[in-house]
Amino acid sequence: MERIACIAVADFSIAALVRANPALRDVPVAIGQNLAPHGELISVSANARAAAVRSTMTIAQARTILPGLCVVLRSAASESSALDALADAALSLSPVIEPDAAGHVWLDLKGLGRLYDSEEHLAAELVRRVARIGMDAAVGIASNKEIAYLAARCGGVRVIEPGREREFLDWMPLDAIGLDEFDPSGALEATLMRWGMRRLGDLARLNPDAVATRLGRYGVRLVRIARGEELSPLVARPGAETFAESIELDYGIENLEAFAFVVRPLIERLMERLAMRAMVAGGVKLALDLDGRRKFDRRVAIGAPTSDARAILTLIMLNLETAPPPASIEQIRIEIEARPARGFQADMFLPPTPAPDRLETTIARLAAICGPDNVGTLRHENSYRPEAIRLEPFAPAPPSPVVSRNGDAESENITRLIVRAIRPALEIEVLENRGAPEFVRGANIGARVVSTAGPWRMEVEWWRDGADDAPARAHRDYYEFALADGGVYRAYRELKSNQWFIDGVYD
């Protein structure tokens, strides 16, 4: 038997605004057509409704009743983000979902019974997941879309057992189903009240033809719902593959510190959505609307896919600090390029290594701390120049049960001589005596040459002379100088310019 769940967020427009601005959570809020005193309210929050504020009042009337009422304009950006987040919460449980623009999502629960003890547990889990994305939802579960929707309209969690739909519909109060959705003029509700209809069961007993002649198409549809005859199929929609959050600002932001304060909750919400879809962030697209209708787009690369909001925020800030927006920011849109999170199974018989997701997060944090170009695997470039290096992304291969070739090598007391690079090479002055280096002088260095080895001539990359991106050919004589200060340095003389440099010290 088909089982459908419906997630319903009451006063969705206001819930989306509260989600974008959590400071409004405990404040009576209303959405107005405009912010003028004569402007009508479109929607009011539950706590404002409790104070007798209604949606058809003007702002002036509402503020007479409730002086602390916060009136805001409807935000399409917030609603879009909230709807996507709601769909993500649903998709984290079922692959077949149907969202609508009013903040309702239907899910096909086929096959999910094995994962949860009961449908009540499943509905409670849905409520928890919607709470994670910053909204309060009601969940109804029934055997078709309409009854699941009506069950969700009752608030909280309500599961209609198979075969008990008729009983539920008979009980369902008419004022709980939202008659203004059927007839926005309110005439239908007034008529039904005049007839003494209080529950759907009262309507179900009426003759549909007679109702049609008196109430028109809205009435017919209502009777069909009351009789359980309104059966529309679940139309599955693919889940959004873009993870974006937007916010419209009342006042333009002009400094990056305030920007970070506003952006952090957006990133945290996005990370929550990604986590529910088992994904991580591989890149960030930043779209800012600036003062004067200007646009500012920026892509922020993430060194390693991560779900760490702090690291992503730091990377965005580092990026913006290099080239900040030229005007104040009025709207922010952050889109995450999602990548699937990698699973990891540790081996009991191999040395422990960092889990891939934690490693990626660590690398992203390190990139934020040290700079994105300063973290990774440093390798020697395929070149004869000792100073040629390249940076690669750090991606260690999983440990192999076979120990590598040097695993068992053990020496008595000999280690390998290591040269520490000096970057960039330090220019020095070498005083010579009959062609032999005698004294070395330069920044932070100045000592007598005790011993010398070399020279070893190197002439490389002459074959690349003339290429646009090629470095100049290297024609050098290399020496090892043991100086009186106790160090042994690797030095070279550029034969073309006769300049001396130190590019390493043996350590």
Binding site: M348, T362, N374, P396, T415, R423, G487
Partner: protein
Amino acid sequence: MATAPAIVWNFGFAPEDQHLPDVHQKPNQPKILEFSGVFRGRELTRKDARLSSRVRALDNLLAGGIPRGRISEVVGPAGSGKTAIAASFAASTTNRGEVAAWIDLPNAFDPAAIESAGADLGRILWAFSDGAGAIKRAGDSTRNALKASETILGAGGFGLLVIDFGAMRYPLTQSAALRLARAAERSGTAVITMGTYRMFGTFAAITLGLGRPRPCFDRVAPKSPALFDGLRIEAVVIRNKLGGQGRRAELFAGAAHETLRSPEFLAAPTPSEKHADGTPTKNSDDALPSVGSRKFAINFQR
């Protein structure tokens, strides 16, 4: 009838963790299988869990290697062999299949040299802290290096963390040293810090001091160009919370490792020391501080 070798289960630590002085595993002993360490006791990191360098003299000096989950300082002047010692541990770590990290304040990491020490560069996470990151104030590079180190230790799973402080002249604050020591113990990662001076004070489990090195030059033949053989390193355990303080050893950082480590090469006198008739001679170049440096390779004391 040949019997299959017995297998000894070694829960909680690697074979080399048992690498204590004079207790080396013989080739004919049963093979020890390594276990990843899930059965740890109340102690966050066992004191006897050691990371070997695969250099016998160095391991003997440190009673089996540097302790995991503790900070080991290697201090000495520039060119004293600190990097060679750290590279030995990095090579040992990566060859066991573990992952190492190298925080580089002076930007002195030379990949070719570290790879020549036997390290697998693909298993070394390098981070250069030059103060270009998130924090841009005075002392940024040190602050960023400490933050980066804590981040790496917090991730867990790293076998070794090397922090190269370069020529930094002032010790860390107690709080910074304590934080890093705690993070190391929680993660079980062996931490090596390299610097000119002691920086971690009482929070370092081992402080290995290196004296002024003796560079060894040699000639293939009289009047031929001199060759740089390597550095004779004198190491002393200045401080060891786990015992063995005051031990000394002499190591040799050789430029041609594969050749120098062969016993035949070590035993053979240098060409410049012998005349054609086989009698010893003296090198004519007085500028060379030592002749036949390979002698140093076989002379070490505890």
